[in-house]
């Protein structure tokens, strides 16, 4: 019952977003919504791993990069359709990341996972920038002039891209929603609260985590593929920077980590805050975000999603 009301809430949220361009047709605003939705996919899937599964993985941005490069290179060199590239990117990211990062790290705990994923970020960056693949990936200059999405020979406009990311976002939302409504979600909660007890009651920690890892990586890769065709370029130097990781972190923390729509709320807050307010004090952008984060972690660990709670309890009372 409560879950169904939640689902209704999500559907209304997406409907409002879908109707938005009809009311307010301002290009910059639509662009910001596109960005929020894209980072919202990444942040919410990261939160699925970190907040729900308790896997402190820092490699989410690497999954995004893998997805982006996969789709970008497939479309650019092999000439396949970008929409198929989108799917391929998700599958390749899910496969590669789960084999290279998921399987080794899921046997480890806490800080070891953090370290191994940081190591993975570094190695991936070095791999893309140099050695053999530099000729194909574009090395330091990045992969450029990637064809955009098109339908019937007409390239997508800003609004088309917005609806595309909204569709992808809805699918990701639906996937997360159905995971959280299923028995897997109960398994997560049990594993997070007391892993020894959950395991002794027959919860298979390993396979549960692998499934979530696959799903999380798939959608992150898809978001990466969207990024690459939306902007027409991808550069590992720009994306593997710590400020990107940090901004994603800010989304999860400001929104509220470990509670589902939190990261999405956070991605909207951070994207709009960055462009409309912090834009005027660009030098102080990261320092301000950092201070906001510290204040939130220390004072309101639940994050902005707490506002929804206040709202809900008032309704019941």
């Amino acid at each position: 019952m409560r879950l169904q009301r939640k689902l209704l809430g999500y559907i209304m949220f997406i409907a409002v977003l879908a109707l938005f361009p009809f009311f307010l047709n301002e290009r910059f605003f639509i662009y910001l919504l596109t960005l929020s939705l894209m980072w919202g996919i990444v942040a919410s899937n990261w939160d699925l791993l970190m907040g729900y599964c308790g896997i402190f993985s820092l490699a989410q941005i690497s999954f995004f990069i893998i997805g982006g490069y996969t789709s970008g290179m497939l479309v650019k060199y092999l000439g396949i359709d970008p929409f198929i590239g989108l799917l391929c990117a998700g599958l390749v990211t899910a496969g590669v990341s789960t084999i290279l990062v998921g399987l080794p790290t899921l046997r480890l705990k806490g800080v070891y996972v953090a370290l191994l994923t940081v190591a993975f970020n570094e190695i991936l960056r070095i791999f893309i920038l140099s050695f053999g693949p530099a000729g194909v990936t574009g090395g330091i200059a990045g992969l450029v002039s990637i064809p955009p999405y098109s339908f019937g020979g007409r390239p997508f406009t800003l609004i088309d891209n917005y609806y595309l990311i909204l569709l992808l976002f809805s699918i990701s939302l639906l996937a997360t929603y159905s995971i959280l409504g299923s028995r897997i979600s109960l398994a997560f909660t049990a594993l997070r609260e007391s892993e020894p007890y959950a395991v002794s009651r027959g919860v298979n920690a390993y396979s549960t985590k692998v499934i979530v890892f696959l799903i999380s990586c798939f959608f992150t890769g898809v978001a990466g593929a969207f990024y690459v065709h939306n902007f027409g370029t991808i550069s590992v130097l720009q994306l593997a920077d710590i400020s990107v990781l940090f901004t994603l972190f800010a989304m999860i923390i400001i929104g509220g980590w470990g509670r589902f729509p939190g990261a999405i709320i956070g991605s909207f807050i951070v994207t709009f805050l960055s462009e409309y307010v912090l834009h005027y004090i660009e030098t102080y952008r990261l320092i301000t975000l950092g201070l906001i984060e510290i204040v939130i972690i220390v004072l309101v660990p639940a994050g902005a999603i707490k506002i929804l709670d206040v709202f809900r309890s008032r309704k019941i009372a």
Binding site: I123, I253, V298
Partner: protein, 291 residues
């Protein structure tokens, strides 16, 4: 007879190992005692180097500026602990992740503070001594490197003495070994936590001065050293003092020999791969206890 190249690699590994040991000790001490992995360690290190540089530009005396800077490192640690970690400690189950997030944010704040206040231009701490000695054809041991190694080892010895022979040091070890027991015998646990954070920041600051007097100062100076320190404490076993020091020298030697045999570019991949292999063979590190 040992070839000259091997001696060069050994000496360079020894120098790097001493530097890394000071850096990693702070991180390891904090993890062992408080159970917090400090992601702002690298940023505090950078801040330490910059503060010393700033005092130097005022007083023009290196020794004096270090003596003024040391208490400041200590205070940074106290502020970080009292401001963030103390309130996070009320929820012990989430402490590890919440403190990681908080210190990551703190580190970014410090890095950007440095960037805004001091600017992105390269700075350098002066040479302490111009003495140098040509050990053999084409290889010079500089007094600077030797002095840095001596200071690093001295710092470690002082820390060792402090942990072994003073009451406060013993209290710190007691807290890390058995929290309940330490509370029972009347140790002020919260005070010890703050003190540990402060000593850890002090060690980071000292490491910053040492690194800053060898390399150039940039706002991101601490990032790579932090990653290496991270590798070292995991290599040596989390929270083990002996393990950290041994691992620091192993990683130092690994780095210098990789540099010599394969080239600069391979250092980080080799270090990370070595660590992954170690983690697969022995998941708790060299001197870590079997969980």
């Amino acid at each position: 007879m040992i070839p000259a190249d091997a001696l060069t690699v050994l000496y360079s590994g020894f120098f790097l190992g001493s530097l890394y040991a000071v850096m990693a000790m702070g991180l390891s001490l904090l993890w062992g005692t408080v159970g917090v992995l400090n992601f702002s360690h690298g940023a505090i290190l950078t801040l330490g180097a910059y503060i010393t540089w700033w005092f130097l530009s005022i007083t023009n005396n290196f020794t004096v500026s270090i003596l003024i800077a040391l208490p400041i490192f200590f205070i940074i640690g106290v502020i970080a602990d009292r401001g963030m970690i103390t309130s996070l400690r009320r929820k012990p189950a989430a402490l590890m992740i919440s403190s990681m997030l908080a210190t990551l944010a703190f580190g970014t704040v410090i890095e950007n503070f440095i960037l805004i206040t001091f600017g992105p231009r390269l700075k350098q701490l002066p040479l302490l001594t111009n003495w140098s000695y040509e050990a053999f054809e084409g290889y010079v041991i500089t007094g600077q490197e030797l002095l840095i190694s001596v200071v690093a080892i001295g710092t470690l010895l002082i820390l060792w003495f402090f942990l072994r022979n003073t009451k406060i040091g013993m209290a710190m070890r007691a807290v890390s070994q058995d929290l309940d027991g330490a509370t029972l015998v009347g140790i002020n646990v919260n005070g010890i936590y703050t003190l540990t954070f402060a000593i850890s920041a002090l060690l980071a600051g000292v490491a910053g001065v040492l690194i800053g007097s060898k390399f150039f100062l940039t706002p991101t100076l601490g990032r790579i050293p932090f990653l290496i320190a991270f590798v070292i404490i995991i290599f040596g076993g989390l929270g083990s003092v002996k393990g950290t020091i041994v691992a620091a020298y192993i990683i130092g030697l690994l780095e210098s020999s990789t540099l010599f045999l394969l080239g600069l570019f391979w250092i980080y991949p080799v270090e990370f791969i070595a660590m992954m292999i170690l983690l697969i063979i022995r998941p708790t590190g060299l001197f870590g206890e079997w969980a």
